[in-house]
Subunit: 432 residues, 2 copies
């Protein structure tokens, strides 16, 4: 017996849809069934309209194939504009807000034959105050954030893939917590027009899917890089740097163990693995990322803070206060730290193709009051290169077994090679 359609990899569904082996309507039904079963407890969606989705699916069935995503729906983080569909940015300030136009990334997906299945819950204004979403693996645990609903929707098979945004760790961390693949491409490579801005320097649009091949399929459309679809080709004898980072003391033992096991496995499969050495310059990336994020967030949210402060969470209002107190010289120095590290990135990478690092301090913490700590995401985000969370194992966290992921980090512009290595790693882990 074939598994339900929503359990199949998106790339496989795409091939079946292209061959008309399955209808768009049947695919949509399958995801709507999952939503029917899981959404009331997971709460991944901020907006959904099953009848509308089925109508679009039937229309797609009647027409010719539009592109590589024909008939594959997408869940879209609610900080990304969708024409005619409420987009509330996770803030009461924007209750009922309906954008005039689709964000550029949404339009690109539609042009490729995809459509918006639902809008997903985001932490307030893509920052830290959580929405109602729960971790599908253990409902009393956070799904991570700020792309909470996107990660949870893919994890619960309620969508084949989803869009998120990352300013610090808002894609990689929830992907790790929810046991899905998360991909943040090189900064600037997915157009941001129509995405609510948090930090102009740092914001990147990212993707969630069940496998590396699936995430590459989505990303290749978003980045207009057809070559990325072939990123599943295995590299020969990859060269890997690995690091617990200078903040290793903050790692849960299970995460240290997981990364250690991955590195051993890579070596046993013929990869060259060497530990990364952090000079002071690169260690400074984490603090510099935080300065850039705080300074720019405080300015991006000028209108919200100046006119509607009472509708902001005290947490976000406090961060904006803190960001406004940062002087321009500190901000410019933090930007310079990022530029200097990116310009000398080989000092960190050595001869390695990619670096393996923890995606988060550990598994998803208990409780829904916090989306977790982005410390292990900050340095990579300021560097600006591609990042992929690959689910590795599960570990007991309190009374629940929860996913753990490691991230594959590449040099800026090296998206194809980074995805190829992530795919190789996924295969070695026996997941593909």
């Amino acid at each position: 017996m074939r598994p339900p359609l929503n359990r199949l990899p998106a790339a496989q569904l795409a091939r079946m849809l292209a061959a008309r082996d399955v209808s768009c309507e049947a695919v949509t039904h399958s995801f709507l069934d999952a939503i029917e079963q899981r959404e009331s407890e997971v709460r991944a969606f901020a907006w959904i309209d099953p009848a509308r989705s089925l109508g679009i699916a039937r229309e797609l069935d009647r027409g010719s194939a539009r592109g590589p995503l024909h008939g594959l729906p997408v869940a879209v983080k609610d900080v990304i504009d969708t024409a005619g569909i409420a987009t509330e940015y996770g803030s009461p300030i924007y209750a009922g807000h309906v954008p005039r136009a689709d964000a550029a990334c949404v339009a690109a997906l539609r042009a490729a034959g995809s459509y918006v299945l639902g809008k997903t819950v985001t932490a307030e204004l893509a920052n830290f105050a959580p929405g109602p979403t729960r971790n599908p693996y253990a409902l009393e645990h956070t799904p991570g954030g700020s792309s909470s609903g996107s990660a949870a929707a893919v994890a619960a098979r309620m969508a084949p893939f989803a869009l998120g945004t990352q300013t610090a760790g808002s894609v990689i961390r929830p992907a790790s917590f929810c046991g899905v693949v998360g991909f943040v491409p090189t900064r600037g490579s997915i157009p941001r027009a129509g995405a609510k801005q948090v930090s102009d320097t740092l914001d990147v649009i990212g993707c969630f899917a069940g496998t590396v091949e699936d995430v590459a399929l989505l990303a290749s459309t978003l980045m207009m890089r057809p070559d990325l679809v072939d990123a599943r080709a295995s590299p020969r004898a990859p060269s890997v740097g690995w690091t617990m980072t200078p903040w290793a003391s903050q790692l849960a033992p299970a995460m240290r163990h997981a990364l250690d096991q991955v590195v051993r496995m890579c070596a046993s499969k013929g990869a060259q693995a060497r530990e990364v050495r952090w000079s002071d310059k690169f260690t400074a990336l984490a603090a510099a990322q935080r300065v850039v994020q705080m300074f720019e967030t405080a300015r991006s949210f000028a209108a919200e803070f100046d006119y509607r402060r009472h509708q902001l969470s005290p947490q976000l209002a406090g961060l904006i206060d803190e960001g406004r107190a940062i002087d321009a010289a500190s901000y410019l120095a933090a930007l310079q730290t990022g530029r200097a590290c990116a310009a000398t990135i080989d000092e960190l990478f050595g001869g390695a193709d990619v670096i393996l690092a923890p995606s988060a301090p550990g598994a998803a913490p208990h409780g829904l009051g916090s989306t977790g700590d982005p410390q292990f995401n900050r340095p990579w985000q300021l560097l600006g290169g591609p990042q992929v969370n690959v689910p590795v194992t599960r570990a007991m966290q309190g009374k629940s077994e929860l996913p753990l992921g490691v991230q594959v980090v590449g040099r800026p512009g090296d998206d194809a090679r980074t995805l190829a290595f992530a795919h190789w790693l996924e295969q070695q882990l026996g997941r593909a």
Copy 2:
């Protein structure tokens, strides 16, 4: 007899308003009078509401001073969101569109005591198809674009200053054509949240005003850099590079003469002046800027192009077609050209503090069908440093006498020194 208030420099008005020597209402009346006299022929505004402006001015008169721009209105290019005020991006696609929130830059100005006097005409989606605005110096000539209305409004003294945006030359060129000061700060230093995106890499929010001191006052608020207000302090014995650029053959004789005279004058006033040498690497900046702009514009306008192509000008639709045909490798190479030049910028600048270059090929061309050629803006925009247009002289263009400006270009981050030199130059020219 004192000149009308709208003829005074904005910085002087700010001091008078702070001292309560003049009321906000009187200042507003003065600019509204100018609008009454000139707007029907200049057509700088896409939206204006005199009664609303007077109401805000009276409210400001009743309250305590809010900040350095207390009571000084601003004209805002209609690609920048204003809460509750129509923002149509110069496109019929957005007819009647009213944003939910102010752009971050507008909120910053309001917090400093300014308010929106009007929205100004932009070329279609901040690209090339012109709006109805005419050059205040000669109505049959273009004001330049895409920030057409902002440059013209300041030139006609209908606003003390204005906001624009620049992706290639949309601030510096219209400032030169209209005889006002235009300032484009270092890329990223004014938050872009709430501005319609054209090119994520290249878009910068810029300012127009009557003098360098005025533009620095506005920019210091937008950039949250109070130190820029002191940029009027004269540098001692400035060191200046000058260049007709590798495209000198495209310059009008009047522009060559104007720049030549400025360089001679600088030398006679004690500046060290040396001609800039362009290696092939830096010459490639202009073509690379165009590739980056085309590629990113084609993606930013995905929604407009995919769903509403019939409402785009044939000119813009053609550019998007062209941009979509650019392959990713060419785009990435163009970005790399920009990064490589920025990283080795001293090879171009040598020991110079700033570079003097033409702001445009010549004075504003006759006719309203084109906003002019950005060739002389492209290389600097990809470099990403500050640029200031300083009005230098007027020259006969056909039957009309029209302004000519030269631009002062600085290294990225060197905004204060660039403004200081521009102020020194303005003083030497006897304009301040």
